[in-house]
């Protein structure tokens, strides 16, 4: 037995090993889709999750899953969805991945429905689809599309519970409430599994596997104000960085236009899809000025910037003039009850407002990481060699928000994350299954390899002096909020980077005062802080380095998009803290690539 506790360090010599064919770290939508695929293949796999699977953040998704299933419009075409997604990404989304996602999507959505997902329905008994931002028909020429498949405004809940249920049916093996600490790579840089501990007992293990999937979700908690759950701390990204692997496009954070002012909780873009709109303090529907065609259903980056400009120019609402209003009352209580019941509940709880009567105070709020661990369409993790070429990390996969297969590029379209989860969660599973058939050869790690992966947790376990993690975390969130928000500028970012360096020094010597073994949430929060820190620093340095404005990354000092120099992914390593570039894929298999053009809505 190897206990976390009593101020002692863990050691490879006494660490018990559990062996699997594959382990999936994460029980959200992406992890559960991978595990379902693997359970059906009869492999010996386990899903490990730091919370009971249905408590994963996918459960919070509201508006829906975007996919050209041709329910609202029989002529809808996955190619139109692809066009919108490429444009939405501001052209740094990889077109091979986007093509794969949009084309594979419909079969996967129907499969989810067959599994039992309680989608809302049309009068013809088909899956209900609503309008979301950035959606068009006929390659932008046919007006607004309605392409987001919805279960009222609780699509994530419906999707996650359905996937959990399907996994129960398939007999998936869950290690629920286990915390993954660090990846174990061998001398050939192959992934051999992960160090993890059972939260209830505090017992640590080496979970050895020939295939490891990082499906650990987002990291919105690097910011002070976010729509993300408290557990969204970028653990997988932190693990990849500590293992010496690359991360991609980390500067690309989506600020969602409609987080509830003061609380950060989200109200879905589906509100605007159902006919709601934003107003400033004069009651003006200001999006008509910024995006004459799409108006409130322009892309999220565009709407968020417009709102911030209204606020900066003094037309914000409320006593501090620091937010806008989302008007829904004209839709009527019936529609709100039928299509947006969850929103009605949330507004009452967190804003004290009944949207059937009053507008909801909203403000752009950190929501989604477009960047992450780079992968190909099979979910295989990519890292960059010294000469700038790609190489695959054998045995390692990533999927979902933690990954960057780059279907979202510089800006994600609403409803495309849920699709990303299920399509690429599945493709990772399929690839693992296939690799097993072919035979996988992964070399065992040495004791030193394992001890390397124990360094971080041991540092926390034996800490004897220093600050409490929660204090350091607050400072980190504060600096990210002020220096790396919707609008960015060099001087501000450079001073932000310095502050982060200081925070790193403090975090290196943080103190875990409570050394108990059993369900020690303080230990988890300390480890999560170390992950947040890696993600925040990667974000900060990448943001300062990308000297242009593209998608969600908007700089006062470089207001234009620079295709000559930056039609590229940014790549960051923790080791030298330097940024390199990686080519964007413009080679879809079926359609012709979409070439960059000026992005207006």
């Amino acid at each position: 037995m190897a206990m976390n506790g009593n101020g002692k360090a863990l050691d490879a010599n006494s660490l018990p090993v559990k062996e699997y064919d594959g382990i999936i770290i994460g029980g959200g939508g992406s992890g559960l889709m991978s595990s379902l695929q693997l359970a059906q293949s009869g492999m010996n796999t386990a899903v490990i999750s730091k919370v009971f699977p249905t408590r994963s953040h996918t459960v919070s998704a509201q508006g829906g899953i975007t996919c050209a299933i041709a329910s609202a419009d029989p002529n809808d075409d996955w190619r139109w969805h692809m066009y919108d997604t490429v444009k939405g990404s501001d052209f740094i989304g990889d077109q091979d991945s986007i093509e794969y996602m949009c084309q594979e999507g419909p079969a996967t959505v129907f499969e989810l429905e067959n599994m039992g997902l309680p989608f809302s329905r049309t009068e013809e008994g088909k899956i209900y689809q609503r309008a979301f931002g950035g959606q068009s028909k006929d390659y932008g020429k046919g007006g607004q599309a309605e392409r987001t498949c919805a279960a009222a405004d609780r699509t994530g809940h419906a999707l996650l519970h359905t996937l959990y249920q399907a996994n129960v049916k398939a007999g998936t093996n869950f290690l629920s409430e286990w915390f993954a600490v660090d990846l174990v790579l061998n001398s050939e840089n192959q992934a051999t599994g992960v160090i993890a501990f059972e939260i209830e007992s505090g017992e640590a293990y080496f979970l050895k596997a020939k295939a490891t999937v990082l499906a650990t979700g987002g990291a919105g908690r690097i910011y002070k104000s976010t729509t993300n759950a408290l557990i969204n701390t970028g653990d997988g990204t932190g693990m990849a960085l500590r293992a010496g692997l690359a991360v991609q496009d980390m500067e690309m954070w989506q600020f969602h236009p409609t987080g509830i002012h003061g609380a950060g909780t989200l109200v879905t873009e589906g509100c605007r899809g159902e006919g709601g709109y934003l107003i400033n303090k004069d009651g003006e529907r200001f999006m008509e000025r910024y995006a004459p065609n799409a108006k409130d259903l322009a892309s999220r980056d565009v709407v968020a910037r417009s709102m911030m400009l209204e606020i900066i120019e003094g037309r914000g609402c409320g006593p501090e003039a620091d937010h806008c209003f989302l008007k829904l009352d004209h839709l009527g209580a019936d529609l709100l009850h039928k299509r947006l019941p969850g929103i009605t509940e949330l507004s009452k709880t967190f804003a004290g407002i009944d949207p059937a009567e009053h507008p909801i105070p909203v403000v752009p709020t950190c929501h989604y990481a477009m960047g992450g661990i780079p992968t190909n369409v099979n979910g295989q993790v990519i890292t960059q060699k010294a000469d700038g070429s790609d190489s695959l990390v054998e045995g390692l996969y990533a999927a979902g928000e933690a990954a960057c297969v780059s279907v979202h590029g510089g800006n994600r379209l609403g409803g495309n994350s849920l699709l990303d989860l299920v399509v690429f969660g599945r493709s990772a599973g399929l690839h693992i299954e296939e690799s097993f058939k072919q035979g996988i050869d992964i070399k065992d790690p040495s004791k030193e390899d394992i001890n390397k992966a124990l360094r971080n947790i041991n540092r926390v376990n034996i800490s004897s002096d220093g600050e409490n993690a929660s204090v350091i975390k607050k400072d980190l969130q504060e600096i990210m909020q002020t220096s790396f928000g919707v609008f960015r500028r060099e001087d501000n970012m450079e001073s932000g980077i310095k502050v982060i360096e200081e925070i790193r020094a403090r975090a290196e010597s943080l103190h875990l005062a409570d050394k108990s073994s059993r369900f020690n949430t303080a230990r988890i929060e300390a480890l999560e802080l170390l992950n947040l820190l890696e993600v925040a620093e990667a974000t900060a340095i990448s943001a300062n380095e990308r000297k242009e404005s593209r998608g969600a990354h908007s700089r006062d000092d470089f207001p234009d998009r620079d295709d000559e120099n930056w039609l590229k992914h940014s790549i960051y390593f923790k080791g030298n803290k330097e940024i390199s570039k990686r080519d964007v894929n413009f080679r879809p298999k079926i359609v012709q690539a979409f070439q960059p053009f000026a992005r207006t809505y």
Binding site: V51, F52, T54, R55, S56, H57, V59, S60, I69, A107, F110, E111, E113, N114, M115, G116, P118, F119, R121, T122, E123, E124, G125, K126, I127, A151, R154, H157, A158, H161, Q165, A166, V168, K169, E200, K224, S225, A229, L230, I231, G262, A263, G264, T265, G342, E345, L346, T349, N468, S470, K474, A513, D514, S516, R518, F519, N520, T521, A522, E525
Partner: protein, 245 residues
């Protein structure tokens, strides 16, 4: 929670159930004073976070902080609820707040209970769609009216507030399925796409699975999502009785 930017502060007496079996000590109630804003309402979960700032060893589950993940079911001044969507103004009496774990389940530590029993009961009802329709690569059609029948059922977040407030669940946890599992049983029975209705009813037919519910309605009064397990249980009972005739 976003940090509290406020000038007006008042003090709240909070009393939290503490227990770590590893220490060999008995459970006790830890009393503390916390500073809370007096000019705005905060949630019970926010208050717990403030307490945890003083004593980081206090353990409780939490995640989404918006009432959809179901992590933070707890007993708040005597009533089960979710910490994250229960405002202090609703529950604090005489400036006192007492927080205990959900009753009737073994305590792992502090406010954290062992949910194994609860999850096992859920799994027993076969919580997944069973359909003998052939997969034709399209959706199984469902009318708006049939879909409406799932409203008030599918939204369950498995928080456990209902089952752990149910006396029949406390007394017969191994046999009585409890309101949460039965609500989900009814969710699948009611789904026009499910073709295993009769098998599902067969499974519920014994004297305990359903019939131990005596309609005390504790479950309804605590459900944070406003769901009505009692009604679902009654519908199942009616179906069983009708079948028996």
């Amino acid at each position: 929670m976003n940090s509290i930017a406020t000038e007006q502060i008042s003090t709240l007496k909070i009393s939290i159930y503490r227990y770590d079996p590893d220490t060999g000590n008995k459970p006790f109630m830890q009393e503390m004073d916390i500073d809370i804003p007096s000019d705005k309402d905060i949630m019970v979960l926010d208050a717990l976070h403030l307490a945890k700032e003083q004593d980081p060893s206090i353990s409780f589950r939490r995640s989404c902080r918006e009432g959809v993940c179901g992590s933070d079911g707890m007993n708040i001044n005597g009533k089960n609820g979710l910490g994250c969507i229960t405002p202090l103004s609703e529950v604090v009496k005489k400036n006192k707040l007492e927080i205990r774990p959900l009753p009737g389940l073994p305590v792992v530590k502090d406010l954290i209970v062992d949910m194994t029993q609860f999850v096992d009961q859920y799994k027993k009802i076969r919580p997944y769609l069973i359909s003998d329709k052939e997969d034709n690569g399209k959706e199984i059609p469902q009318t708006v009216e049939d879909r409406d029948k799932l409203d008030g059922l599918y939204e369950c977040i498995l928080c456990g507030c209902c089952s752990t407030a149910c006396p029949s669940f406390w007394w017969n946890p191994d046999k009585f399925l409890g309101p949460a599992a039965l609500l989900q049983a009814y969710r699948f029975i009611s789904d026009s796409r499910d073709t295993a209705r009769e098998e599902r009813l067969d499974q519920l037919e014994d004297a305990f699975s359903v019939f131990r519910c005596h309609g005390i309605m504790n479950c309804v009064s605590v459900c944070p999502k406003g769901l009505n397990p009692t009604k679902a249980i009654n519908e199942i009972k009616k179906m069983l009785v009708k079948r028996a005739l």
